[in-house]
Subunit: 367 residues, 2 copies
């Protein structure tokens, strides 16, 4: 059997495994690639049972922060592939967080017009977001993910063991995308369970973060994402529900990277999305009549676990300028957001004015 | 109507038009993009009725030779798109030869994870080969088209008027790919005509190159390519028939670029493919029992119109080393070629030894 090329179905297979070693060996055996090239985040290398012995010599370790998610790093990965003589019948395994899997996915998808790749996400954020759905890419001239392609991995392998290696802040980073998934869960997925994902997430003990329960929630979040992506792989309509919180969130994230100070860590993606969701829930309440209670529930979680954003009212104009450049906009200089009529009822392609954006930023910064 | 995104069907629409101006306007009107960005080969700009007035300000002129088909040039095109504020609902029009349409197609396919593009090929080679089929890409570290993606244009617009602007050498360059198409024409396409494409090409007056008759042959060649691409868009099997002549041809082309001397023009793609076909027809005769007459017919055309290749026997080793690196190879270090059992009966995935390759090179260089 050769590497399956997904042509029409952009929803990748995903698998939650207890033993990473044997699960990966099984997958590789079933694909029979003529060679395997690993690209591994240097911070996670020792933390798993993926020892150098298994990985062998065809391994490239990378340290990829958001500021290194660039074409230069992609070229390092291509150079590694060429040096290994990787052919189209080989396979790439990307082991790391979302920045690494996005970048390696792009490198694989453009190497010799596309070689298959397997994602092994090592952060909660990458498990529930970046490692499925087929979005790959890098930042270009400071614009987040502005160069890339849609190219799903042949498989995404989720090993909950990684979660034990992560600091609380990193778990919260991923949990924010899970909260988003809870807010947009489609009714046909929700009807398969006794209650909604949003309610299940509100009940979850976010302070203790018990792993077993978290794993069940991860499975449900990935299933929701896969269902949405399968229906609209290239984000022509429905898939935009996944962008809830992201128009405001990306602007915060980009501004924090542009202002990055050696002593201050730039804002993490999940935190940015959490703040973005609060701004977009505010607009959902004022523009679409969403219940205020949902906004209050999310605000509680923010104040309790995440803390307030570091930006302030005087950043508004720069944030709005960044929002106008967002690649999600369909027309130049307009601001396109996904809003909620209610939990589980997202509405895509809502255009908002700069004044409305300013009002939502003010609400967020006043909390 | 929005830009149609081809998800499963990689065969683009193509259209042969008499009036480029009105055909392009019609297509653009039907897609209703929010803006149009032209990337035009600076050599063809004045040669058509596509005046600067129509193109307006959103035009980037490029001079792209094979040696400039690089990531640096792609970045210039991306920068132009960003400067214009191009969104995903805009469209790119690439006007030029195959080097330009390959490069601009790659830039469009990776800009914001893909914006639609229209190809307007200005050379015979681009009309019958590069501008359809969805292969995009650039050279990387001297390896031809080794970085790229499969991403079909939303439309390919062929205006035979360009042919009158081309020197004879450039027409011969494209005619070589037409000869290849004649040699591999599938029986189900052939059965729609009174005789085979190969016979029609042999009858064509290659010295006078009458345009009207050539246009009919172009239409047939593009239809053959589209039929093959539709059946196997990502070159997993059948599509490899299109690579006939290309394993040997690419090696010659790469060597000529590596050796390029300021006073000597590097070998053109079509010429390289013609020489490659002679070497691969030689192997088709010796290994698969193809009739020697076909080899003689093609050799006649070579001697009559194209002249002998500039390489010599002492280049054999370097040529074979280049063939082993070809991205068409499925296993590292083997040589994979498409051969013919007869005209219209290509056989893909034929592995040949270095000795067999050497014998075929010797045959070619002895002519």
């Amino acid at each position: 059997m050769h590497i399956r090329k997904k042509k029409c179905n952009f929803a990748a297979d995903f698998m939650i495994c207890e033993d990473l070693h044997s699960a990966l060996s099984k997958i590789l055996n079933s694909y029979e690639p003529d060679q395997v090239c690993f690209v591994v985040d240097e911070n996670v290398e020792e933390k798993s049972d993926l020892s150098r012995t298994q990985i062998g010599l065809k391994c490239c370790t990378l340290s990829v922060s958001e500021s290194e998610k660039t074409l230069d790093t992609v070229q390092r990965v291509w150079d590694f592939f060429f040096a290994q003589g990787l052919t189209r019948r080989g396979v790439v395994v990307a082991v790391g967080g979302g920045v690494l899997t996005d970048l390696v996915g792009f490198a694989a998808a453009t190497y010799k017009r596309g070689v298959g790749y397997i994602n092994v996400p090592t952060t909660l954020l990458a498990m529930v977001d970046a490692s499925t759905g087929g979005k790959t890419g890098v930042n270009y001239r400071g614009l987040k993910n502005s160069i890339g392609v849609f190219a799903p991995p042949v498989e995404t392998l989720i090993w909950p063991g990684w979660l034990q290696t992560l600091p609380a802040k990193e778990l919260l980073n991923g949990f924010a995308e899970m909260l988003k998934t809870g807010l947009i869960e489609p009714s046909d997925v929700r009807s398969q369970y006794s209650d909604g994902l949003w309610e299940a997430l509100l009940r979850y003990d976010i302070e203790a973060m018990p792993i077993e329960e978290l794993t069940l929630l991860i499975r449900r979040c990935v299933a929701v994402k896969e269902a949405i992506v399968a229906a609209d792989p290239k984000e022509e309509g429905l898939r935009k529900v996944l962008n809830f919180g992201h128009t405001f969130g990306h602007a915060l994230e980009e501004l924090s990277h542009a202002q990055a100070h050696p002593d201050v860590e730039p804002l993490d993606h999940g935190y940015a999305v959490l703040y973005g969701m609060i701004a977009e829930l505010y607009l959902s309440v004022t523009k679409l009549g969403c219940e205020r209670e949902v906004l209050q529930q999310l605000t509680q979680i923010m104040l309790h676990a995440y803390g307030k954003p570091a930006c302030k009212c005087s950043d508004r104009e720069r944030l709005i300028a960044l929002m106008k450049q967002d690649k999600k906009n369909e027309r130049a200089a307009e601001i396109n957001v996904t809003l909620l009529r209610a939990v589980g009822s997202p509405v895509v392609n809502q255009t908002i004015t700069a004044d409305e954006a300013a009002e939502a930023w003010e609400y967020l910064f006043s909390l």
